[in-house]
């Protein structure tokens, strides 16, 4: 029964495919891919809709107000209304814009976001595109996002767009390094680039309660935090949303977009968030594994989406809590702290591995991280004393 529930979607697909018996191979492959793609799109578009409204509601709660609550029960149909609004809005293209580039940018950005979602295992046997170098694929595709952002900024031929794009690219490139390097320990420890292998390696439980997720090791925890922070930056979320900081540069590279194209950007941003969170779940939080052995009867995909939702909640929570940082602070933080710490995680994981992955390894690797952390924080401590606030007025 459990198994049945667990594999219900897999079976469904397997039941669909025999309908094409007799067709050429490439047709079957195409059909299989299409099924995956549609399932993926369906699920994540729904999730996007859900999250967009939930975010507003949660933010509302945090800011001591109601969120949207007019459309449908609890305002749940708000995205539908938004969608209709977006679709029927006028599509404006600036006269001096580079039309082709301007047009291609939202498509490309959405495509990459969706592509990245393809390699994440959502449940047991539920990886849409199980390729051997899945993690690499994820980052390869993710890195093209920058090009898309640039296209949007350039194509609009607008000062704010260009500045926003520059900011976005700068911070994305800077944080891509820690983001990728923090995955190295996991890849090294597992010995594979395949997300499925990584999830499989996190199966099993110590004492029946302690899952073998990498986040339970010191290096894993540190890497997870670094990864999460880098993910925040990569998806341009608060407190790292300088590229589209409304008070400074209107809406960054999206300034000149309206209507459906704007919605596409919006969606791509959320998809990027899903993708990063999904990868974080896969890499550090045990993928679709249940947190406790006793809870394994609940289907694997439920666990995955539960973890994903938890992370998304943290995203929203952070957005509701933290103010926006300054550009130079973000960059300093990336190069002076995140990157060294990411390398430390690498060393720490190596120490953990060579100390036998036991308690000793745990302690040693903790030691490595703590030492470097303390040293780094002392090193980059500017010892700035904050004076009492003074106001300067325009002359």
């Amino acid at each position: 029964m459990n198994d049945f529930l667990d594999q219900i979607f897999v079976r469904a697909k397997q039941m669909l495919l025999p309908l094409l018996t007799g067709a050429p191979d490439w047709v079957i492959q195409l059909a299989s891919s299409l099924i995956n793609i549609f399932a993926l799109l369906g699920v994540f578009l729904t999730l996007f809709a859900l999250i967009s409204v939930l975010e507003r509601k949660i933010l509302g709660r945090m800011q001591n107000r109601y969120g949207p609550n007019r459309v449908g029960p609890f305002g749940l149909f708000q995205p539908v209304a938004d969608g209709i609004k977006m679709l029927i809005k006028e599509d404006i293209v600036p006269v001096r814009a580079d039309k082709v580039v301007h047009f291609l940018a939202p498509i490309m950005i959405a495509a990459t976001a969706i592509l990245a979602l393809g390699v994440i295992p959502y449940g047991r046997n539920m990886t849409p595109f199980a390729i051997d170098g899945g993690i690499l694929f994820f980052f390869a595709v993710g890195s093209t996002t920058e090009l898309a952002v640039f296209m949007a900024g350039w194509g609009s031929n607008n000062k704010f767009s260009m500045l926003g794009a520059m900011r976005a690219i700068a911070q994305m490139i800077s944080y891509e390094l820690p983001l990728i390097i923090t995955t190295f320990p996991v890849v090294m420890v597992v010995g594979a680039l395949s997300p499925d292998a990584i999830v499989a390696a996190q199966g099993g439980y110590a004492l029946g309660v302690m899952p073998h997720w990498f986040v339970t090791t010191p290096w894993g925890a540190a890497a997870f935090i670094l990864f999460f922070v880098s993910g925040l930056v990569e998806s341009n979320r608060t407190p790292f949303d300088v590229p589209e900081g409304e008070s400074e540069i209107v809406a960054g590279h999206m300034t000149e977009y309206s209507g459906f194209k704007y919605a596409t950007f919006f969606m791509a941003e959320y998809f990027g968030m899903f993708a990063i969170s999904g990868l974080a779940v896969t890499l550090f939080l045990g993928g679709w594994h249940a947190p406790i052995a006793g809870l394994q009867f609940i289907p694997s995909y439920v666990w995955f989406f539960a973890k994903l939702s938890a992370l998304l909640f943290v995203y929203i929570w952070v957005r509701g809590t933290l103010p926006r940082t300054r550009v130079d602070q973000i960059m300093n933080f990336a190069w002076k702290f995140m990157l060294p710490m990411a390398f430390t995680c690498l060393v720490s994981a190596a120490v953990w591995h060579y100390q036998g992955r036991g308690l000793a390894g745990w302690l040693w690797s903790l030691g490595v991280i703590v030492v470097v952390y303390v040293a780094l924080s002392r090193l980059i401590d500017t010892r700035k004393k904050f004076a009492t606030r003074t106001y300067r007025f325009a002359e």
Binding site: V371, A375, R378, R383
Partner: protein, 490 residues
């Protein structure tokens, strides 16, 4: 237990790094914290050390540079442990002598790491690496923080010892090309049959001998020492005399004796003569000094001369009763340890005096006993220990050395005994000049021992007393090694 020695070598390096990273105001506390860590580690090492087992313990062996037979091979036997203990005792006290800035602390920690490495490495290449690694921070410490004439003294120190090191390295390359190994144990095994033959053997012997004799130093290769010790800051002098000079003696025990027993036997009268010259002339020269630091420096040469006497005696003649060899060797080991503590303590006291007066000439003081009885009292304990008063630590080693060497080379020993007398004269003179007589005007405002100073002085003095009265706990460390080494050499 694996990895403890490596950790021991690495922790001071981390410490040096930490000292550099932290704001400079905390340099000394941080250095001391790291020293506390190493001390704990050394204590664990001592606890886990099996005093009855022969051979190396806690060996760590890794491939390092296979092409030249250089392995990362560290391990300890009794001698190594003794010296590691000594290092762990001296260095923290050297830190407590004076306020130090960041670079100083970092360099001292690097020296410490090098010392641990030197005393635990069991492969020549590794050993040599650490051996040289200690030289550079020492040079910088003297050169940057030294007193008058520091440039000259530091350069002399560096060039002279470096010349010796180069000679030693060349010799070892020769040995390596002949025998194909750098491993101490293997080489020692080969040494009995004669490692090399003909002139090559003599050349190799001369190179290693020069390197070590300069380091110890042995008369007449000692002229860098008074200058360097006189100029170096007190803490550095403590480390130089307390531990660094032991590297030379250690080298003699580890390298020269096992590798070239035949050569030493042939040269024995000359070598013994040099040792005796070290003892007698150095103590006489100490008598003629008016600078306290220089005086203590010369006495260091004198005390290391006893070690050399004991060592050369071991392979001096054909007929050597095991009893006497063991006595001499035990004596040498004890002397290494005791001299380390005592000489460092003496430098420490001289440092205290210098801090108070700004000068350190023997005639710059007078009547201190009336003003600072505690300082004088504790200082005289160190002095008496140094001149070999029974009941304090210095006596044990000297007695055993003389016991062993008298039975084997009576005439040399009989002359060497003069050193004991002259040492006594030197200290009696110093005590008379410093402590007694009317209180000099310039000394009338001296403070007596402060709290931190007591923290240093009391444990060290208690250690001297403990070793002097019940030295068995030290002998427990070295006895097995002594027996083993005696078998190897007889």
């Amino acid at each position: 237990m694996a990895g403890m020695i490596t950790a021991l070598i690495l922790i001071p390096l981390f410490g040096a790094f930490a000292v550099c990273v932290w704001p400079h105001t905390n340099a000394r506390p941080i250095a001391l914290i790291f020293n506390a860590i190493t001390a704990t580690l050394v204590f664990m090492l001592w606890r886990n050390f099996d005093a009855t087992a022969t051979g190396l313990q806690m060996v760590e062996r890794h491939v390092w540079i296979p092409a030249i037979g250089a392995e990362y091979l560290v391990g300890i036997d009794g001698l190594s442990l003794l010296l590691v203990l000594l290092t762990s005792i001296i260095i923290p006290f050297a830190f407590l002598v004076q306020r130090m800035d960041r670079g100083f602390c970092a360099l001292m920690l690097v020296t410490q790491s090098a010392l641990y490495g030197t005393f635990t490495a069991q492969n020549f290449v590794l050993w040599f690496l650490f051996y040289e690694m200690s030289l550079i921070p020492a040079f910088l410490l003297i050169k940057i923080w030294g007193g008058e004439n520091r440039d000259r003294a530091a350069t002399k120190f560096f060039l002279y010892t470096f010349l010796g090191s180069v000679a030693m390295l060349l010799s070892f390359l020769g040995i390596y090309f002949a025998k194909g190994t750098f491993d101490f144990a293997q080489l020692a095994g080969l040494g009995k049959q004669g490692l090399l033959s003909g002139n090559v053997a003599w050349l190799a012997f001369a190179g290693i001998f020069l390197g070590l004799a300069v380091k110890v130093p042995l008369f007449p290769f000692h002229t860098w020492l008074p200058d360097a010790y006189e100029t170096a800051p007190v803490g550095v002098s403590m480390v130089l005399t307390g531990v660094l000079s032991k590297m030379g003696v250690y080298g003699f025990v580890r390298l020269l004796l096992p590798l070239f027993p035949n050569e030493i036997k042939i040269l024995a009268p000359w070598l013994l003569g040099l040792a005796v010259c070290s003892i007698v002339f150095a103590s006489l020269a100490a008598w003629a000094q008016s600078d306290l630091k220089r005086m203590v420096a010369y006495l260091s040469i004198n005390h290391l001369g006893y070690c050399m006497l004991g060592l050369f005696v071991i392979t001096a003649t054909t007929v050597r009763p095991a009893v006497e060899m063991q006595a001499a060797l035990s004596g040498v080991f004890m002397q290494i340890f005791n001299h380390g503590i005592t000489a460092a303590a003496l430098f420490y006291y001289v440092g205290l005096l210098e801090q108070r007066r700004g000068l350190r000439g023997i005639n710059d003081f007078g009547g201190l006993m009336q003003r600072t009885p505690l300082l004088c009292g504790w200082m005289s304990v160190a002095m008496f220990s140094s001149l070999g008063l029974p009941g304090l630590n210095g006596f044990i080693g000297e007695f055993l050395i003389f016991k062993g060497s008298f039975a084997i080379a009576a005439s040399f020993t009989a002359v060497a005994v003069i050193g004991l007398l002259v040492t006594a004269i030197v200290f009696a003179r110093a005590m008379q000049a410093l402590f007694s007589g009317p209180l000099t005007e310039s000394c009338s405002a001296f403070p007596d021992l402060g709290r931190t100073e007591k923290v240093v002085v009391v444990p060290v003095t208690l250690l001297m007393l403990a070793i002097g009265l019940a030295p068995q706990f030290v002998f427990n460390i070295i006895n097995t090694t002594v027996i083993q080494m005696t078998r190897l050499l007889s």
